[in-house]
Symmetry: C2
Subunit: 331 residues, 2 copies
Amino acid sequence: MTLLHIRKHLDTLAKPTGSLGRLEDLAARLCEMQQTLTPVTAPRRAVLFAADHGVVAEGVSAWPSSVTGHMIRTIVAGRSASARLATTTNTDLRVVDVGSLTEPLAPQPNYRCAKVCSGTRNLALEPALTKDEFHAAFAVGQQEADDAMNAGCQILIAGEMGIGNTTAASCLTALLTGADAHDVVGRGAGADDAVLEKKRHVVRNALARYRHLNSDGAIEAMSGLEIAAMAGFIHETCTRGRTLLLDGFVVTAAALVVAHLWPDAVTRMIAAHRSAEPGHSLALKHLGLEPILDGWRMRLGEATGALTALPLLDAAAAMLGMSTLAEVVGR
Amino acid sequence: MTLLHIRKHLDTLAKPTGSLGRLEDLAARLCEMQQTLTPVTAPRRAVLFAADHGVVAEGVSAWPSSVTGHMIRTIVAGRSASARLATTTNTDLRVVDVGSLTEPLAPQPNYRCAKVCSGTRNLALEPALTKDEFHAAFAVGQQEADDAMNAGCQILIAGEMGIGNTTAASCLTALLTGADAHDVVGRGAGADDAVLEKKRHVVRNALARYRHLNSDGAIEAMSGLEIAAMAGFIHETCTRGRTLLLDGFVVTAAALVVAHLWPDAVTRMIAAHRSAEPGHSLALKHLGLEPILDGWRMRLGEATGALTALPLLDAAAAMLGMSTLAEVVGR
């Protein structure tokens, strides 16, 4: 089923041609991805990967690493913004700890401890991850995507929690888009001017240090465990032909890693929003994606942007059930 | 409860300050309107007012008036875009015929026949409505809003169906914003260049003919029955302090009528989207409203824009249930 065929079907529906605007664009993408004129958007699942970052020692974040553990508990307890948005959109939400500095929680259905190690190394001093560590985290993400798809999920969302991870995402975005560190680095979860300058300095130095490596080596050196896991999650979702709804800057950095390995993965991705982080626009442009929500200035992470935009996919799928013009006038 | 108090509360939540962007703005507006930090967005109801327009005789629409009747039946049968979107967003949807040229349908729970007359007069030749007709339609809208609020609805949506009604809406928008006919008139449900030119001519002449009347007289002369009913619906909703989620160009023309009578009504309105109709941007600017969805190019009417944006209000309300930072860190 080609996009032309889908567009022709949309034009038979009981409405002026194109009068549902972007809702029709989204409907067409869902039809194309699922190869049906009656795509579905449920069940769906958001998996939040959490980890800590050695580079926090450089003073690149307004928050201490302990916040990662606090937020894991808050999400699992259903009291985070992400948990609230997941509930209101009927989305399964899971947290997978792939490498935080916090103690494992007691077993719970929406929580998995799959720590590859306790935080990354400080990328300002040495490569953040070894090849084995990167691959182990990637495999955790693949497994999570497989579990979700085996449970019937059509729409998959990767999200993240990890103090310091916008620094790693900035490094990867600059590496993979070719943009300058100055343009990629933003305030993340609230950096002031001094912290922002430190972040830029760290990203610039990391690129100078690691970009001469082969691309795998450079990615491993500047990645995070949650970013590697999300790359595995996204890769598996796209390989198996389901829809990956992207969240913000850090998730999109993982998507850049996947698109670097396999450019066609992008055909399975829908961008939910344009983050307030400047690097996110550069990443979306590199991937050729227009976000569903623009100008919303969201920058929380935890899949909150994807969960906010998700009902607009539901609307696109629902709209396809309307009458054709022939049915209406023929009555 | 002032906006400052609400903003201070938002800043205590477990997220970087302002990191949910426009979701926080929407949450703040809901809190302010409902005077609580735990606003609700359900139950909600969309009432679609349908009517025909004598001005269609001037060739201002790409569609014949008979389509109004066809669409009433399609909506009532649950097969319109609006009905599909109402179902997916758990929104009550009703159709009220305030003056179509079609025969009344058999009684049905989601349909009401409350015809003031069978279509308006041709505003190119004589005033479309008398004062009594305008007021009768206005009263139908008030009654519908009262019924919805008595059923507990917090969010109310007015929508419309009426071939030719973008011409009436263009007249009212030009009259009430002071904009030029050329800038206000768009292609509506699909006017080609020749029809667009006719529409501009009709709107320009109507303004020249009626704008010297007192404002009530000019509004009645260029209105539609569904526009008058929506004005009554919007006025009643705002008077009783509930939230009115605006749809597109024609509904916003009715909101301009209400704001002309009572400027403070705007404090109860949220704009759902910016329509592809050029006059809609002028109307939103006049009302001082920023739409939830921008650049979505929707122009179907039938409350489809409002129903598409509605889940973003649900997200805003849901987000307010998250933990405070003190709760998270204190654990």
